[in-house]
């Protein structure tokens, strides 16, 4: 009787979740825009998954667009034949018959777009995951404990928020251009300061705002005075050599986390005063358990919405950085890079203004539709998962 009982229990455990899921799916079906959003994303996912099949890699690194060295500097229209140079021969072997979307700077646009999809998903997800983690941690602590902790974290968030995103990203990428020495100051910032904040939060320091302002000044002066001491000799002598993409990743994460923090903190403030949180305290739950089991599951939905809307804008930002030349390295399959090559070909003269349309329209379309898909998805999530609208 034992195994059968277990099975029934498992089934019973999943049934409510399945019911909720069915309800969610039916709501999705009712809105044409969300179906469109889902369709677009599924389309791109299929392209990304089947990239090795749709566009077999020619160079050893699949993200390197195969290039025809003879025609660097010019663009050839869609349907042009493949020149038989080193890369061209490889390409013919892999099954390419012609340049389907044309070439720009000698690079095959079709290949770049397909593998660019993979790159877009990669960068999008990785940045969103990191910003989500940072935003969750900071937002949770700030929202749950409140008081001076909240003030410090929120002011810090506001500082970063004050910079325009693209400009800050650009500045960060360039600043990270040299090999990075990890010094004591950096270690202190990364480990000691958060540890101090978390410990203080746990013991519930209740300073007034006057104290927090004083503390802030004191801390700043300390950092300035002791900067030199913190510089040498480091506890963890290490030099990071960041690849171009790492730089973009770090820059985008730093630009992106304040947005999440604010939203999460707002949601937590809302949920914190609900009765069931107090009931959990009455039962004897620790702070951490309350945060994870009670507060987070009830606040996660708006964050999912923001996250899905964000992937679109992250990819857009990354493409913008690549367009400006400070994102992906030369020859890396990236939509923004393609458009950067077509920079001077966008307007080809009075006589034939659209002569090189394929160099920017095609990658541009990929970017636009990708972002549109995620935006629609985000909107769909918001309509579907917002608990106040759900049970209409």
């Amino acid at each position: 009787m034992e195994p059968k009982g277990r099975l029934k229990e498992i089934k019973a455990g999943i049934t409510p979740t399945i019911k909720e899921l069915k309800f969610t799916i039916s709501r999705i079906k009712n809105s044409p825009l969300s179906i469109l959003g889902f369709a677009i994303i599924i389309f791109f996912v299929i392209i990304a998954i089947s990239a090795p099949v749709l566009a077999p890699p020619v160079c050893p690194d699949p993200f390197r667009i195969w290039q025809d060295e003879f025609t660097i500097g010019s663009a050839r229209p869609p349907g042009s034949s493949i020149f038989i140079d080193f890369n061209g021969a490889q390409a013919l072997k892999q099954g390419y018959t012609s340049h389907i979307f044309g070439t720009v700077e000698g690079m095959d646009i079709y290949y770049a777009c397909i593998w660019g999809t993979v790159g877009a998903f990669r960068i999008g997800f990785m940045v969103v995951v990191f910003t989500l983690i940072i935003g969750l941690i900071i937002g949770c602590i700030a929202g749950y404990y409140g008081g001076v902790i909240d003030e410090i974290m929120m002011r810090f968030t506001d500082i970063i928020f004050a910079f325009p995103g693209l400009i800050l990203a650009m500045a960060l990428v360039i600043a990270l251009n040299r090999p990075w020495d990890i010094d004591n100051g950096f270690l202190a910032l990364i480990f000691l300061v958060p540890a101090a904040i978390v410990i203080a939060a746990r013991y519930g320091f209740k300073f007034s705002t006057l104290w927090s302002v004083a503390l802030g000044f004191f801390g700043l002066i300390c950092i300035i005075l002791f900067r030199n001491i913190l510089k040498s000799p480091s506890l963890l002598p290490m030099t990071l050599n960041l690849t171009d993409l790492d730089k973009v990743l770090i820059a985008l994460v730093i630009v992106g986390w304040p947005g999440y923090t604010r939203v999460i903190r707002g949601e937590i403030l809302k949920v914190k005063q609900e009765d069931y949180v107090e009931a959990a305290k009455a039962v004897g739950c620790s702070d951490l358990r309350i945060m994870i089991r009670h507060i987070l599951p009830n606040t996660i939905y708006p964050i999912l919405i923001i996250a899905s809307l964000d992937i679109g804008s992250i990819v857009l930002l990354a493409a913008a950085l690549s367009f400006l030349g400070i994102g992906a390295p030369y020859g890396y399959a990236d939509w923004g890079q393609l458009i950067s090559f077509s920079r001077d070909k966008i307007y080809a003269g009075r006589i034939e203004p659209w002569k090189y349309w394929y160099t920017f329209i095609i990658p541009g379309l990929f970017i636009a539709v990708f972002t549109l898909g995620w935006n629609l998805l985000g909107d769909a999530f918001r309509d579907i998962l917002d608990p106040t609208l759900r049970r209409k």
Binding site: A12, T209, D275, K281, A282, V283, G284
Partner: protein, 348 residues
């Protein structure tokens, strides 16, 4: 009868922040110098209007809130009570401090507080918001067991089913979300959560206010049955005077953070003495159109608890106000039959 809860000079103030640096400029005196005793096995009713501090008092007693001053003694044996009363004379003595640290739950911190949570529980007013909407019923009820390490796994499951059956639900209801139940059933789940750790003292914070009249009777029956079976002591906080009349053994009336009258139920409802209590009981609508009751309409509004009136807090609205009422605060005095009143009319 042994006392299970005794409060001495209990105070709970909420700070009002103002000014540029959000300093504490004033206090909302939610609970101000409250002394009373709850005996084991009884149902103690706490009534009053909104803003009188009854919910705050209930939550402070079970240490969900930290009191600003005063002592709360939980389940202190008789002889120790005598000792504490003796030592109250010299509050700075070593022995007094030791006794307080051991028995006064107002001083308890994390570790001892955790153990205390097992014995004291609370049922909230609105079951829709007091149950986590994203947790299954079985997790909601099993949570006290997991958090306090009472039971795990299959043992926990057995106890959950046991307590569910006590409140009138079945095993089938385990794997559902709270929103799939009706209001009365959700309140039962909340009661089950409170009872699963076998507490001795349960604060019921307006548990029947958000449910229908017909379900109310079911819940009241449930409370009475559970009290008999599990030897519980209730603190029944409510603004619904007719419900409190039916279920409580003794009742206290609160006004602006103070207890103004305390008596056994029949005594209080038949012979209220404090003018506020008189007005309060006279305003209960009677479901019988033939009864014509004398209507004492209480004029004005409840003053703000930030700046309560001097002397007796009720004196600006009292029809029998005297000179002394605006100057001196009346103490809660015993006028016989277990009937306590805080009013200068009776303490001459």
């Amino acid at each position: 009868m042994s006392a299970i809860i005794e409060t001495v000079a209990l105070k709970k103030y909420y700070p009002v922040l103002g000014g540029i640096f959000r300093r504490r400029v004033a206090d909302v005196k939610a609970v101000d110098n409250v002394n009373f005793t709850v005996y084991r096995g009884e149902c103690f009713g706490l009534v009053g209007e909104s803003g009188c501090g009854k919910t705050t008092l209930g939550k402070t007693i079970i240490r969900l809130l930290q009191p600003n001053a005063g002592h709360i003694y939980f389940d202190v044996p008789e002889d120790v009570q005598e000792e504490i009363k003796k030592e109250q004379g010299n509050p700075k003595s070593e022995a007094y401090g030791r006794l307080l640290r051991k028995y006064d739950i107002a001083t308890f911190r994390k570790g001892k507080l955790q153990q205390l949570r097992r014995k004291m529980q609370i049922v909230y007013q609105d079951p829709t918001t007091s149950l986590n909407p994203r947790m299954l019923v079985k997790d909601i009820i099993a949570e006290p067991l997991n958090v306090q390490g009472i039971a795990k796994g299959s043992e926990a499951r057995r106890r959950v089913v046991e307590v569910l059956e006590k409140v009138g639900l079945t095993e089938r209801h385990l794997y559902r979300y709270p929103h799939e139940f009706s209001g009365g059933q959700r309140q039962r789940i909340a009661v089950a959560r409170a009872l699963v750790s076998n507490p001795e003292f349960v604060v019921l914070d307006e548990p029947t206010s958000s449910v229908d009249v017909s379900v109310r009777a079911q819940l009241l029956n449930l409370f009475q049955d559970l009290q008999k079976d599990l030897h519980l002591t209730y603190l029944f906080v409510s603004h619904d005077l007719s419900v409190v009349e039916c279920i409580s053994d003794r009742v206290a009336v609160m006004y602006l953070g103070k207890i103004v009258e305390l008596a056994p139920t029949m005594e209080l409802y038949n012979r209220p003495m404090h003018p506020y209590a008189v007005a309060l009981f006279a305003s209960i609508p009677i479901p019988d159109p033939t009864v014509k009751r004398e209507r004492v309409v209480l004029a004005g509004e409840v003053p703000s608890p930030i700046n309560p009136p001097a002397g007796c807090r009720f004196h600006p609205r009292c029809s029998k106000v005297m000179q002394i009422c605006s100057k001196q605060e009346p103490k809660l005095m015993d006028i016989g039959n277990g009937h306590f009143v805080a009013c200068h009319l009776y303490t001459q």
